[in-house]
Amino acid sequence: MGEGGRLSMSEADLPRRTRRPEIGRRVWHFLSFGGPGTAAYACFVLAPILISLGYSLTNYNPFRGDTDFVGLANYRVLLTDEEFLTSLKVTTILTAIVVIVPNALGLAVAVLLDRRGWVFNALRTVFFVPVVLSSVVVSVIWTRLLDNDGLINQALRGLGVDEPPGWLSDPDYALYSLGGILSWQMLGFCVVIYLAGLQHVPQELIEAASIDGAGPFRRFWRITWPLLAPALTINTVILLISAFKIFDHVQIITRGGPGTGTTATIAYNVLQTGFIANRQGFASAMAIIMLIIIAAASAIVLKLLQRREVDL
C-alpha cells in the first residue's frame, strides 16, 4: 500500500485522466472531515488573534470616537510602562512558584504513594480532587482560610504566635500566598502523572541495582529519575501554560492587590486595561506580547526537556 494510508492505490498507478477528480475528492475529504473543526478554530481562535494584532497597532478605545493607527507606539510604551513591567515581574514570580512547587512536591508525594493497596489509591484520589474543583470554589475557600481571622491564623494564635502574618493583606506575602494556593490546586495533577511514570519503571532494574549494593537514593537518582523524564516534561509544560493563564484566582482573591499591582499578572492586567480602562488597543498589544512570551517559553522548555528524554 502507498504511504499515508490513503484508501486507494497510489496516484501514480492511475491512468492520467482519472487523476483530476482525485483532487476534488481530497478537497471533499478535508471539507467533510476536517472542515467544521478547522472552521471553528479559525473563526474563534485564529481570527481573533489577528484582530488583536490589528488592534494592538491602534489606540482603540470604545469610549472615544476616533481610532488612529499608531504603529508600534503601544509596544514602545509598554517596554517602559511601570505597571506592565511590574506585572511581568509578578507573572514571572508566580509562574516560577507554580511550575516548581507542585512539581517537586508532587514527585515527593508520588514516591510516598507508590505502593499497592486501596489506601494508597484512595489517597491519590484525595490529592486529585482539588484539580477538578472550579477556580472559584478554590479561591473562596482559601480566602476564608487565609483571612486575618481565618482558620490558619486562629491555629497560629492558638500555638502562641502573637502576630500571625496578613497572608492576603500584606503586600509582601500576598503574591506568595497566591502561589501557595495555586500549588495546592495543581499538586494532585503532578502526583498522578509521576505515579504513572513510577509505576512504569521496570522492577528488574531496581532489583539489579540493589543487588549491586546501590542505596535507595542512588537507585532513584540513577534509574528512576531518568525514566521519569517524560513525566517531568508533561508536568512542567502543563504547569507553565496554566500559570500563564491564571486570572480567576487573582480576580477573586486579591483583585490584583493589596494596593497597586502587587498580584496583578499580565493576564489580569490585559483584562483590566481592556475592559475597565478601556484602552483596548493598548491591552491588545499587552496580549500579543503575552502570547509571544508563552510561545517562546513553551517552545524552549519543551525543547530542553525533550532533548533530555531522547538522550536517555
Partner: protein, 425 residues
C-alpha cells in the same frame, strides 16, 4: 445499531437547549410590552427582594413596560457596566454607575432641564454641561460611626471635636486593646475614610480643587493633598488602623464593625440603613470627621441616581421607567430606610418612621447645610466634578498602599499625578 443510538443522542442534546431556553433564558418579552434591561447591584442592604419590589412599584404604574433585571456579579457595578458596553450588552438603565467615560463616548442619554425639574440640584454631576445621571440623593461621605459601648470602655466621654481629640480617643482605644478604626480594602470601605481626611485637609481650603486639577492649576503633589495622604499613612503607622483589614471586602468590613471588632467606622451615611434594622442591637453614635481647628466640614455627594443608555431599543420606555423609579415616593421612602439615602427631590421629606440613626445623620447634614460647611466627598464625585476616568481606581489602590506602608505619601502623589497625565492623554 450503536450509530443509531449515537445520532439519537445528538438530536436530543441539540433539542434540549431550545426547550430549556424557553424556561431559563427569559429573553423574549411578553407580547405587546416594551422590554428594557436594568442593571443593579446587591449588597447586604440591597437584597434581590429590595430591587424586585422597587421595580414592581414602577411597572405597576406603567404596565406597558417590562423590566429585565441584570445583576452585577460584584459591587463594582461601574466596572461591570464598562465590561458590558465593551461586549455589546450595555444595559438600557443603570443605577449608581459613574457616568465618567460612558458619557464621552456618546453612550448615555442626556436629561433635559424639563425632566430634571423635580431635582434639588439639577446640574450636579454634569459632564461638559450635560447631566447624564439623575442627581437623586445626597449622601454624606463619611460620617464617623462609633460604638458607644467601646468608647465607654476606653474611658472616652465626649465626641472628638478636633483632629487632635480624635487621635487622643484613638490612643485610648488602642491602650484598652480595642481596634480604633475598622476598614477594608475596597473603594466603598477605605474611600470614605480618606474622603473625610481630604475633606478637612483639601476641600475645606479649596472646594474647587478638583476643577482646578482638571484645569492643571493644582497637582496631587501640592501641600494639601500630600497632607491628606500623610494623615492616612499616619493613622496606619500609629496602629489606629489595622493594616490587615485591606484584604477584607466591603461586607466583611461592615460586619467587623457590627460585631464590635472596632470602635469607629468612617462610612457613608448609607450605613444607617443597616443600623436601623429592627434586629440591630448596636448602640451607635455619629460625628463628622474633625478638622484640625474644629471647624465643621461635611463632605457630601449628590447624585447616585439612574442613568439611561442613549442606544436603548425602547428609549422612551427606558426614560419613563428611570424617572418613574427615581421619583416614586414608595421607592424614595424605601431607599431612605434601606440604604440611608437623603433623596434630593424637591418637596420631599423623609418619612417619619425612619430609624434613629438615619435621623441623626440627617440632622448632621442639615447642620452642615445651615453653616455652609458642605464640601465635595473626594473620590465619590461624578462627571466633571470628579477624577478623570480610571484615576479613581488608582486612588483606591493608593489608599491601600499608604495603609500597608508600601508607598510613602510622596510616592503616592507622584504616582497619581503620572496616572492623571496618562488618563488625560
Amino acid at each position: 445499531m450503536r450509530r443509531g443510538l449515537f445520532t439519537l443522542g445528538m438530536v436530543v442534546l441539540l433539542a434540549a437547549p431550545t426547550l430549556a431556553a424557553c424556561e431559563v433564558g427569559e429573553s423574549t418579552a411578553p407580547a405587546g410590552k416594551k422590554e428594557i434591561t436594568f442593571l443593579v447591584f446587591e449588597t447586604p442592604n440591597l437584597t434581590p427582594q429590595y430591587w424586585d419590589a422597587a421595580i414592581k412599584r414602577v411597572t405597576d404604574k406603567h404596565p406597558e413596560i417590562s423590566v429585565k433585571k441584570l445583576v452585577s456579579p460584584d459591587q463594582d457595578r461601574t466596572t461591570y457596566a464598562k465590561q458590558l458596553l465593551t461586549s455589546g450588552q450595555f444595559p438600557d438603565v443603570m443605577i449608581a454607575v459613574s457616568p465618567a467615560g460612558f458619557a464621552e463616548g456618546g453612550n448615555l442619554y442626556a436629561w433635559t432641564p424639563d425632566e430634571l425639574k423635580d431635582f434639588e440640584f439639577p446640574t450636579n454631576g454634569a459632564i461638559k454641561g450635560k447631566v447624564y445621571q439623575l442627581p437623586a440623593n445626597t449622601q454624606t461621605i463619611p460620617v464617623v460611626y462609633y460604638n458607644k459601648a467601646l468608647f465607654t470602655k476606653a474611658g472616652i466621654t465626649g465626641e472628638p471635636k478636633t483632629y487632635a481629640e480624635l487621635q487622643q480617643a484613638a490612643a485610648k482605644l488602642k491602650a484598652a486593646g480595642i481596634t480604633p478604626f475598622v476598614t477594608a480594602g475596597v473603594h466603598d470601605s477605605i474611600g470614605p475614610l480618606w474622603a473625610g481626611i481630604l475633606g478637612t485637609e483639601l476641600y475645606a481650603k479649596n472646594p474647587n480643587w478638583m476643577h482646578d486639577r482638571r484645569a492643571g492649576k493644582v497637582k496631587f503633589c501640592d501641600a494639601e493633598f500630600k497632607a491628606g495622604a500623610a494623615k492616612l499613612a499616619d493613622l496606619a503607622k500609629q496602629g489606629y488602623l489595622d493594616a490587615k483589614d485591606v484584604s477584607k471586602d466591603y461586607a466583611a468590613g461592615q460586619q467587623a464593625f457590627l460585631d464590635g471588632k472596632g470602635a469607629m467606622y468612617a462610612m457613608g451615611n448609607w450605613l444607617a440603613g443597616e443600623l436601623d434594622k429592627p434586629d440591630s442591637k448596636l448602640e451607635v453614635g455619629q460625628f463628622t470627621w474633625p478638622s484640625d481647628d474644629g471647624k465643621l466640614v461635611v463632605p457630601a455627594f449628590t447624585g447616585g441616581g439612574l442613568l439611561v443608555s442613549a442606544k436603548a431599543k425602547n428609549l422612551d420606555a427606558a426614560r419613563t421607567f428611570a424617572l418613574g423609579f427615581q421619583l416614586d415616593k414608595g421607592n424614595l421612602d424605601n431607599s431612605a430606610k434601606a440604604d440611608g439615602l437623603f433623596p434630593a427631590i424637591k418637596g420631599y421629606t423623609p418619612p417619619t418612621d425612619v430609624g434613629p440613626d438615619y435621623k441623626l445623620g440627617y440632622d448632621l447634614y442639615a447642620k452642615g447645610v445651615a453653616e455652609k460647611a458642605v464640601v465635595p466627598a473626594f473620590g465619590f464625585e461624578a462627571g466633571d466634578d470628579g477624577m478623570l476616568p480610571g484615576v479613581t481606581a488608582k486612588w483606591d489602590s493608593s489608599a491601600v498602599d499608604l495603609v500597608t506602608g508600601k508607598k510613602t505619601p510622596d510616592q503616592v502623589c507622584a504616582f497619581l499625578d503620572a496616572e492623571w497625565a496618562k488618563a488625560a492623554a
